[in-house]
Structure formats: structure tokens, C-alpha cells
């Protein structure tokens, strides 16, 4: 549109020549602008992904040259590797419980912050700040807070006569403890929900009120339909983040087990009793602790398939993650 308006009038042949030259030049310019990403995509994504597929069919310990083993790595991972199914079950648990509670809690905090009239800025900062805490530091902080016997939360529970679970040391409580840590860092969802809630047209609330709708009905029939795309967005990105869940369970397990990190002492992830295992930790465990490159690549591909499936879901969303360009 703009190009045709600005191109100077020219003779028929002259125009085609300049147009073609222009188009070629603009293709070159486009390529130049995209170059960093194109190179990065090819080199740090496409090539290693293909090579991951290749290695998943090879036996390779990092020292001797790789040898073809067919589907041996695949059957090893699915039938013999003792950590695979626990990790998958944990992932399912995290998707069902952690993602759901995080979305519900994020929406709750978002609703709360839009209705707080006094000191809104202070509240917003307080609610948001934990989201920024570096995961390693935040996990260490929670390991301390919940530590049986010495942690303030443990003391507090004892004082009010509630049971004092072992949290990160108890297989039944380690994932709830991680969920609490995730709820503490709910700031990102709060901000997203806050923006969405403020976008709901005022008139709809007023109209509902005239109809005699109570607070719950206003929420159910006005708020929820208006923000449902954002809820959907929060759920799907939450699931995708769960596929990447690595640092917190790794640190929590390591700190709680008392293994000295980075000391060369081997720490099998998942403490206590495989309850904090997630798929990304298996890539580390197989590839970098057991030097079983082939099986690590199998896990990587499983992870790839899962993440892609949910990303596809996210992109199919109407109105889309991708905002329409011109």
C-alpha cells in the first residue's frame, strides 16, 4: 500500500525493473534484519534438535565413538529406567494441582488488588515482589522456613497445634511444599489478571446490578466470561512452565537431603523418594550423571513432544497469543 503510493511514476518497463530491483533489495534487507535469529535458530535449535534425534538411536557415553543401537534407548527409558514413570506421574500431579491452584490463587489476588483502595501501590509491590526472587534463593528460603525442627513455619504450626509435616523431607509433602513456593511467586499471574479485570466493561457490571445480580453472579456471568481467554492463557502457559520445572525441585531435594551441592558428591535428583522428580531433571541425570547420552536424548524428545503439543494448543487459541500485525 505504502510502497505503491510512494513509488514515483515511471514508464512501464522502467517500473518493472526498479520494482524488481527494489523487491530484491528489500528481500536482502529483510534477510539482514532477520539474520541474527536465523543463524541462532539454525545453529542453536534446528541442528541440535536433529542431533538429539540422531543420538536417541545411538549408544554414546561421551568418550567412545557412538554406535547404532536402534530403539534400545527408547525401550530402556520406557520399561527399565526407574525414574521415568515417577517423573511423569509427578508432572501430572503438578499440572493438576500446582497449575490449578496457581491460576485460582492468581485470579483471587488479582481480584483483591483491583478492589483495594488504600495503599494500592504498596500492596501491589508486596504481592509482586516474590515472583522476582531468584528461584535458587527462594527455594533455599522456603527450605529454611519449612525445615522440620528449626524453621519458623514449623514452630508456628506447632504453636497453634497443627500437624508439623516434614515438607521437603516427606514424599507426601514435598510437592505441596513446592506448590506453596509456586503460590508465593504468583505475581506474574496477578499482574496479567489485574490488567484483564480492569478491561472488563463497567457497563456490564452496572447492568447486572440493575438485574439484581449478587456478587457471585456478577463474577460468574460478567467477570468470568470476559476474562476466560486470559484464564485459558494462564492455564496453558502454566502447563508449559511445568514441563520446564527444574531448578526448584532440584534445589529443594538437594538442600533437604543434606547432600553437599556441587561437591562432586553424586546427588540423585528426586529426594525424598523420587517425589520431586521432573522430566528435565532426568535429562541431567541420564546425560550428565550417568553419561548415557542416548537415553538422555530420548527424554529430551519426550519433553519436546509434550511442550510442542501444549504450545500448539496455545497458538490455536482464538484471538491468539500472536497479536495480528498489519
Amino acid at each position: 500500500m505504502a510502497a505503491s503510493l510512494t513509488s514515483p511514476p515511471a514508464t512501464a518497463t522502467g517500473r518493472t525493473v526498479t520494482l524488481r530491483a527494489k523487491r530484491r533489495r528489500s528481500a536482502l534487507v529483510t534477510l539482514a534484519f532477520l539474520a541474527p535469529w536465523l543463524i541462532g535458530f539454525a545453529f542453536f535449535f534446528a541442528y541440535p534438535l536433529l542431533s538429539t534425534v540422531y543420538f536417541s538411536f545411538m549408544h554414546y557415553d561421551g568418550f567412545r565413538p557412538p554406535t547404532w543401537t536402534g530403539t534400545r534407548n527408547w525401550s530402556y527409558v520406557f520399561t527399565e529406567y526407574p525414574l521415568f514413570w515417577p517423573a511423569l506421574r509427578n508432572t501430572l500431579w503438578l499440572v493438576v494441582v500446582m497449575v490449578t491452584t496457581r491460576v485460582v490463587f492468581g485470579l483471587g489476588v488479582g481480584l483483591l488488588i483491583t478492589r483495594i483502595k488504600l495503599g494500592t501501590g504498596v500492596f501491589r509491590t508486596a504481592f509482586y515482589l516474590p515472583y522476582l526472587a531468584p528461584p535458587v534463593a527462594a527455594t533455599m528460603a522456603f527450605a529454611f522456613l519449612l525445615n522440620p525442627g528449626t524453621g519458623p513455619v514449623d514452630h508456628l504450626l506447632g504453636d497453634v497445634g497443627l500437624p508439623q509435616p516434614g515438607w521437603f523431607n516427606d514424599p507426601a509433602w514435598s510437592k505441596p511444599a513446592l506448590t506453596m513456593l509456586a503460590l508465593w511467586g504468583v505475581g506474574d499471574l496477578m499482574v496479567i489478571f489485574m490488567a484483564a479485570l480492569l478491561d472488563v466493561p463497567r457497563e456490564q457490571y452496572e447492568a447486572a446490578e440493575l438485574d439484581g445480580a449478587g456478587a457471585w453472579q456478577r463474577f460468574r456471568f460478567v467477570t468470568l466470561p470476559n476474562i476466560s481467554p486470559i484464564v485459558m492463557f494462564a492455564v496453558v502457559t502454566g502447563v508449559i512452565q511445568t514441563m520446564q520445572y527444574y531448578t526448584q525441585p532440584m534445589i529443594a531435594g538437594q538442600v533437604a537431603s543434606g547432600v553437599i551441592g556441587n561437591s562432586g558428591q553424586q546427588f540423585e535428583p528426586g529426594y525424598p523418594d523420587k517425589s520431586t522428580l521432573t522430566l528435565p531433571q532426568l535429562v541431567y541425570n541420564l546425560g550428565f550423571q550417568h553419561f548415557d547420552t542416548g537415553s538422555a536424548c530420548v527424554i529430551a524428545l519426550v519433553l519436546f513432544a509434550l511442550a510442542m503439543a501444549f504450545t500448539a494448543l496455545l497458538m490455536r487459541r482464538r484471538g491468539g497469543l500472536i497479536q495480528a500485525g498489519d
Binding site: K117, P130, I192, A207, M243, I260, N262, A300
Partner: protein, 300 residues
């Protein structure tokens, strides 16, 4: 909507009834105000208390940190000095800073032109390119880590340094590209067209016209990138673990806990020192940040 339109207008009630209605309504509103703000305080406690406990514990003696007392007595400010003097801590601090600053600069410089092209150029395959950006953004880094590690270890001999983490950032980061692109499409095309009419080349248009307008978005993505480098644990664990001189704070903090098994006070002081830069930066750039979060998925 239609129901709403058909709803009868509220009949004017007798004056006395209207008075009581107004009074109950006012009382209800006051009660609601109190309820909302109490809930707000409760939530604020949940979010803030962990920081307070960590801070207080970091100022206790190591014996006191194991007891149930909450208030440090006496205040052991010296803990922070001890942490700084712990072998490696200053090195880790420096490494984190180098990683985060160079990573941020490289990412922004390499991602801006890509985002601009994806937002404002028209070319075949643009939508595909955008989809690929989103897809790579959503992938866990573990998916391609094995061949990447082999490449940096066997071909480049750069493991044990932070280079395998810094170099790739010179080639655009999917998340940054995506976020910037989301912002850039909201800039009206007229600006771009006007610049072209004035004879600006694409690069000049980007630098002179678009960049000044995109400053808030660039600030936001720069902050995100800084934090994601500062917080990164997996990258340094894979590439730098073999060489303690290349460790970053996020990675070294773990060792710190290991070496001071029962000294929760020192561990919490170290934890505070890892959190501090992030919190300080946040207070200086709060607005850019909140804007950035809303950009992530929901339209800007």
C-alpha cells in the same frame, strides 16, 4: 444484554424506604471495605513474611538461628562480612554480573532488528517465522542441551567458562523477540511510512523513529533478560560446574549451603545477597516491569 435492556427501571420507592436502603447500602459498603483490606493485609503477610524471616535469620548468631526466637539478639551484622569473605563469593558475584550484563546487551542488540522485521516488514514466511519464534520460546532448554554441550565441549573446548551461555545471546532470544514484536505491532504504520517517504532507509527508520518510541518495551525486555541470566541455574550447572572460578551466584549459593550445613544464618545472609540486586533493580524500574508482564501474552 437483551435481558438487561428489558429489565424494569427501579421503581421509585417511598422516601423513608429509600433512606434505610441507602443506610444499609452504606453499611454494607463499609463492611466490604474492611473485609477487602483485611484480606489484603493477610495476603501481604503471606508474601512479605518469608523475606522478613530470611532477613532476621541472616542477622542472628548461628546458635540463635536454630532456636525459635524470631528477633536477632544481638544483631550479627558481621554475618554479611563473613559471607563476602567466603572463598569464591566475590568471584561468583562478578561472574553473575558479567553474565547478566553482557547477556542483556547482546540479546537486546540482536533481537531488536528481528522483532522489527517481524512486526513491520511484509515478506513471505513471516507467519511461519513468528510461529517458530513462539515454539522455541516455549521449549525447555533441556531439549537440546545434550548436543549443545557436546558441541561446546568437544568442538569449542569452552566448557568450564560462561562463554557457552553468553555467545548464543548474540543471536537473538525468542522470548525477547516475541515481546518486542508484540509491542512494535502496536506502533501505527504511518510512522514507518512517513520515515520512508522522508527517505530514511530501514535501519535509519528503526534507529531514529522506532527505537525512541519503543524505549519502555526495550527497558522491559532488558530487565527480563537481566533477571533470567541472574537467576539461571541450569546453564551454569551444565557448562560451568567443572570450574569453580566460573560459577555464578545462583549456582554457587548451593555449595554455600552445603559447606555451612547448620549455619542457617550465613546461608540466609547469602540468600539475601543473591536476592538483593533483583529487588533493588525492581524498585528503580517498577513501571517498566509491570508493563512488560502485561505484554507477555495479553495484548499490550
Amino acid at each position: 444484554m437483551t435481558d438487561v435492556l428489558k429489565a424494569p427501571a427501579p421503581a421509585s420507592a417511598p422516601a423513608s424506604r429509600r433512606g434505610t436502603d441507602a443506610r444499609t447500602a452504606r453499611r454494607r459498603a463499609a463492611l466490604e471495605w474492611v473485609a477487602i483490606h483485611s484480606l489484603g493485609v493477610a495476603a501481604a503477610l503471606f508474601f512479605v513474611l518469608p523475606f522478613v524471616f530470611v532477613l532476621l535469620t541472616s542477622l542472628m548468631s548461628d546458635n540463635q538461628a536454630l532456636t525459635r526466637s524470631l528477633w536477632p539478639h544481638p544483631f550479627e551484622w558481621h554475618n554479611y562480612v563473613t559471607v563476602f569473605h567466603t572463598a569464591g563469593f566475590l568471584t561468583w558475584w562478578k561472574n553473575s554480573l558479567v553474565y547478566a550484563v553482557s547477556g542483556t546487551v547482546l540479546t537486546v542488540v540482536s533481537s531488536v532488528p528481528v522483532a522489527y522485521a517481524l512486526a513491520k516488514f511484509r515478506f513471505r514466511g513471516r507467519n511461519t517465522a513468528l510461529m517458530l519464534v513462539v515454539a522455541t520460546m516455549m521449549l525447555p532448554p533441556q531439549v537440546v542441551i545434550v548436543p549443545m554441550y557436546l558441541f561446546w565441549a568437544n568442538q569449542m573446548h569452552l566448557t568450564g567458562t560462561l562463554w557457552p551461555l553468553i555467545i548464543p545471546m548474540a543471536f537473538g532470544d525468542a522470548f525477547t523477540v516475541f515481546l518486542l514484536r508484540q509491542f512494535l505491532v502496536t506502533i501505527p504504520n504511518e510512522y514507518v511510512d512517513a520515515a520512508r517517504v522522508d527517505g530514511c532507509g530501514e535501519l535509519r527508520t528503526l534507529l531514529r523513529v522506532i527505537l525512541p518510541m519503543a524505549r519502555p518495551a526495550i527497558a522491559a525486555v532488558a530487565l527480563f533478560q537481566f533477571f533470567s541470566c541472574w537467576n539461571d541455574y541450569f546453564g551454569p550447572q551444565i557448562y560451568a560446574s567443572e570450574n569453580p572460578a566460573a560459577w555464578t551466584l545462583s549456582y554457587g549459593l548451593e555449595t554455600f549451603k552445603g559447606a555451612h550445613q547448620t549455619s542457617w544464618n550465613l546461608t540466609m545472609a547469602a540468600t539475601m545477597l543473591v536476592m538483593a540486586p533483583v529487588i533493588i533493580v525492581f524498585f528503580f524500574a517498577q513501571k517498566a516491569f509491570v508493563e512488560g508482564v502485561t505484554l507477555t501474552g495479553v495484548k499490550g
